[in-house]
Symmetry: C2
Subunit: 384 residues, 2 copies
């Protein structure tokens, strides 16, 4: 097991009716900026619940944060927050709203010249506004971590930031808020959470049995409960298990003390940046092919995963092949294609992605062996 530090101070309020607890979580004197996305919170009753809970608070609102939140949109929220002197941010929505709000929290008090430098952690931030969240879409885990991924339209970039200063003070997870989600978003959420676990688990063994067993616990939960949530979106317990599993998938516990990969996300981000493909769908179009190309270096973990998660038996080679096939099958069972050829992606995209990885001048993956050339091979296999 590798050395690690683990510290996660986010308070989770989980379950039916928890939005009513909001006012106790935010200082009474705070001027709160509520941030949200395209307006689904007006249809599912969440907006009303939030407004009722915060009826004694001063409120400012900023809507319209898009999927893959953009710097351009978020800087409008920063301007509003500064003009209104808000002192608490409340993200109401899914991972994009949460990620965007983390950037806003860091950017409002930022005194540097170019707030885009916060993204990619190129500018050091020393303070951020406090934020909380009401999560309405289980997927990204952003509700219990300090990461955010922000896009920039102007340059077709998509990059991450991470800083403990933007940990939410609290996140409210009421599974009932997911009941009206479109099937595509439920599927994307399950696939996203599943891939998060794989990025932290499907590497090489360091005899971190506790972490491996926990990662397998999250995978098994998503595999058991995900299809139930897809089939019956108002099945409370299915939604609750998927929601809590998605949070556990990326709250730092699974990565503590083990090597991690994240190459699938790096490649996927480029496909979203260039083609606007849903984040989770880019992951499904990359991971099975990455596993195929890296099946020798990931062999031991693929075999363990085949046995423990998919209950497969057979020769080691059969287990490896079965593990990769089951992974692809799981995405497909959610209605998510696992081939880049399902999208208007061609050789030009492969060349552009490889070029971008070459420009970054670093390799990815748990052994830093996902070179730009390997990225090209993975995408070619996905296109084939």
């Amino acid at each position: 097991m590798n050395n690690f530090q683990y510290h996660n101070p986010v308070r989770i309020l989980f379950g039916k009716g928890q939005i009513a607890q909001l006012s106790k979580q935010i200082p009474a004197e705070a001027k709160v900026m509520i941030t949200y996305g395209g307006g689904s919170i007006f249809k599912n009753g969440v907006y009303e619940q939030v407004k009722t809970a915060l009826k004694a608070h001063q409120i400012v609102e900023f809507g319209g944060i898009e999927a893959n939140p953009t710097y351009e949109t978020l800087m409008q929220a920063v301007a509003l927050g500064r003009a209104e002197h808000v002192d608490f941010l409340l993200a109401v929505g899914g991972g994009s709203v949460l990620d965007g709000t983390k950037f806003i929290a860091a950017a409002i008090p930022f005194t540097g010249e170019d707030a885009w430098q916060i993204v990619g952690n190129r500018a050091k931030i020393t303070t951020a506004l406090p934020l909380g969240s009401v999560l309405t879409l289980p997927a990204t885990g952003s509700e219990m971590n300090y990461y955010a991924v922000i896009s920039r339209k102007e340059t077709q970039e998509k990059k991450g930031l991470g800083n403990p200063l933007v940990y939410p003070k609290f996140s409210i997870l009421d599974p009932e808020t997911t009941f009206s989600l479109p099937p595509r978003q439920i599927a994307n959420g399950i696939a996203d959470a599943f891939t998060h676990v794989m990025e932290q688990y499907m590497t090489y063994p360091v005899r971190a049995e506790m972490q491996d067993r926990m990662a397998e616990a999250v995978l098994l939960t998503l595999i058991d409960e995900g299809p139930k949530m897809m089939a019956s979106p108002t099945d409370y317990d299915a939604a609750a298990n998927v929601m809590w599993a998605a949070t556990m998938a990326l709250n730092g516990l699974l990565a503590a003390g083990v090597p991690t990969d994240w190459a699938t996300h790096q490649i996927g981000h480029e496909l979203t940046a260039l083609h606007g493909i849903d984040h989770a769908r880019t992951l499904a179009a990359v991971l099975p092919h990455l596993l195929e190309i890296k099946k020798d270096t990931k062999r031991e973990k693929l075999i363990q995963y085949a046995k423990r998660v998919w209950q497969l038996s057979g020769t080691d080679d059969e287990l490896v092949a079965g593990a990769i096939q089951k992974t692809a099958d799981f995405y497909e069972s959610l209605g998510i294609p696992t081939k880049a050829s399902a999208y208007p992606i061609g050789e030009e995209t492969v060349r552009e992605v490889v070029k971008r990885f070459t420009e970054r001048g670093m390799n990815f993956g748990e052994r830093a062996d996902i070179t730009p050339e390997v990225v090209g091979e993975i995408l070619e296999l996905s296109l084939s």
Copy 2:
């Protein structure tokens, strides 16, 4: 799944050499009281490592905190801490030192007349000194929770306290500090952690699949790695997995959103209070018999546990019987008896424990159906 709140701000520093990080975790100007037990930290080098790490800090020391820390001893530490105006406590040891230090942290600033009222949460505390820990014995989980169990010699009582004010600010877990533990303490630690999971898992299903899978992950880790640590106390990875599993067993995650039992602990505490039997050994003498007597109300979870944790197959009745047998076998495999008859316990003890439960005027267990009469039945079965 039940509603829950989860909030655990303890910073974990895990791995080889992490004690050297101590000085960064404690304010430079703090006057630190180091608390410890019977002196094993002088033999295993931990004391030296701590003193070296804190060479720039002002230090006061209080040693001699016993297993099942007593109010009588701890009040001496409170007096010292007050006289020396210490403003940070550092527990160096196992769960007893940690639990005792939590009490000291609450008692030093306590202004009420009778500090014993802090135990059992009968007196409300509004502040506590900050504390951190260097854990040397994986067992109780005290390093990442806000609970403590304190004994009182005068009245032969053993009671719990719990308050977020006594969460450690940080806990340092270096598996190498366990290398010189006596086999009995390793066995006790594994048994204690195993029982903690069972108290939160072996109840009735509420379709909390994520929590069940995590509980099973901890059990499987203890079952796989515990015997390896027993066989080779200097096997770093075995110690690391047991240590992290023991922390995960009682840091709040497994209990979030599920019913919990804790009757085994309540009964066990009385056996320790009356006979001074090691805490973990009392649990092993109670749990298998409690499961036998409550096997109908715990039936569904016993079957799930038999299949998922012990990979048993057979009829439901066979699975239930096998699950209880495997539980007893696991304790016995650690060298821990599962019968109260292994100790100088007789009918008088049963009568006294039943009397104490009757005086408390409440039932225990996840269905509040462990009445004083049932407590008597469990102990009789253990004695038979």
